[in-house]
């Protein structure tokens, strides 16, 4: 066994400083598990994209004939989005079925994202510094067009309330 060559390090990061390493090391922190992590896990599965399509056609978002048109292209009014968000919140609280809760959670966040992108309006009580990481986490596992909506929402400033 060649012990010398085995100990070589990846050259691109050979000069990584302690300071840089500490900063990157903090990315490893997960913190307490959030309710949204269950949705992120579900969307991360191989059939996650198909699952979201199905969830939007049967869950709270089905109040719109065409959820894509309403949420992505912005045809939904602010009041409709608030109703969708409230309905999602209500289902999350009262349902004991995991799938139903995940479905409602997806609608809840998509309504918030659509209100942010198309109406510049924050329709939930969460602070932006709490909400934005959640939206970006969801965007990193959501299908393309939904990912775009969520990521744009995270970086869209809301109007002063």
């Amino acid at each position: 066994m060649n012990f010398k060559s085995s100990a070589r390090q990846d050259s691109e990061f050979a000069n990584l400083s302690e300071l840089d390493a500490s900063r990157l090391f903090q990315i490893g922190l997960c913190g307490p598990r959030r309710p949204v992590d269950a949705l992120i896990d579900r969307l991360s599965q191989l059939d996650g994209h198909h699952w979201l399509d199905s969830a939007l056609s049967t869950g709270t978002a089905s109040m719109f004939e065409d959820p894509e048109n309403a949420l992505i292209r912005g045809s939904a009014t602010l009041d409709q989005l608030k109703r969708m968000k409230e309905e999602g919140k209500s289902v999350i609280k009262r349902s004991r079925d995991r799938e139903t809760r995940l479905n409602a959670l997806a609608s809840y966040f998509l309504a918030i994202a659509a209100a942010m992108v198309h109406h510049r309006n924050l329709i939930c009580s969460r602070r932006r510094d709490e909400l934005n990481p959640v939206l970006l986490d969801l965007a990193s596992v959501a299908p393309g067009k939904w990912s775009d909506l969520l990521s744009q929402a995270a970086l869209t400033p809301d109007s002063p309330r």
Binding site: F13, L16, E18, L136, A139
Partner: protein, 224 residues
């Protein structure tokens, strides 16, 4: 007679590799050398024994001697220690053996009054170097994963933002994507980096439920 088999209750990456036939032991040794050579080298430089020889050669000699021992990792798992501490302890024994050999060969100790580079203890220096080494390893493995999954651009955006501290507006110009998309790309690669990093800490002996605690502890040692 000591048990020959690796304990079947130890469902760790290292335990699994050692129980498997073929290249398992070699994979474990490669992993240990690639992650722990640098921390042990830094540790050695911080001890009063640094007159014994070139740090790289001493550490390689240690690996050659100890990693070939059949029960080395089984003994580690039974110790309950983090692997880096187990290796450090074993390294201390090895240094004593080298010193004894040197005495038999009438090799005189060199000067030890030279100050070490840091006011930190050798153990703290080992932990700091371990953070650097494990982050470096995690970066390398994350890059490989991203490449296999066709996410090379995600990887580059991650490096630009998290390592080189470039803002998303700047990155969006460099990569021809809008800033929100760049943020998502960085986040996708960051999730993979987090998974790899946490897995490496579990390989070191951290309980999966306590990885956050382990990170916090090591960050405190690092002064972050």
């Amino acid at each position: 007679m000591r048990p020959n088999a690796f304990p079947t209750t130890c469902h760790t990456w290292i335990g699994d590799r050692l129980r498997s036939a073929g290249e398992g032991r070699g994979e474990v040794n490669q992993h240990v050398m690639s992650v722990y050579a640098w921390p042990l080298t830094v540790y050695f430089r911080g001890t009063r024994d640094r007159w014994l020889g070139e740090p790289d050669e001493i550490v390689q000699g240690f690996f050659a001697d100890r990693l070939a021992r059949e029960h080395f990792f089984a003994d580690w798992l039974q110790s309950g220690l983090p692997l880096r501490r187990w290796l450090m302890n074993a390294f201390c024994f090895y240094l004593n053996e080298v010193k004894r050999t040197g005495k038999r060969n009438r090799v005189e100790p060199g000067p030890t009054d030279e100050q070490a580079d840091s006011s930190a203890t050798p153990e703290e220096m080992l932990d700091r170097a371990f953070v650097v080494s494990i982050v470096r390893k995690a970066l390398q493995q994350t890059h490989e994963r991203c490449a296999v999954q066709g996410l090379e651009h995600h990887w580059r955006v991650f490096v630009r933002h998290h390592y080189q501290s470039a803002g998303y507006q700047q990155i969006s110009k460099e990569f021809g994507v809008d800033a929100p998309r760049a943020a998502v790309m960085a986040r996708t690669a960051a999730r993979k980096f987090r998974e790899v990093l946490r897995d490496l800490l579990v390989r070191d002996g951290a309980a999966p439920d306590h990885v956050d605690n382990e990170i916090q502890t090591l960050l405190e040692v690092s002064g972050a």
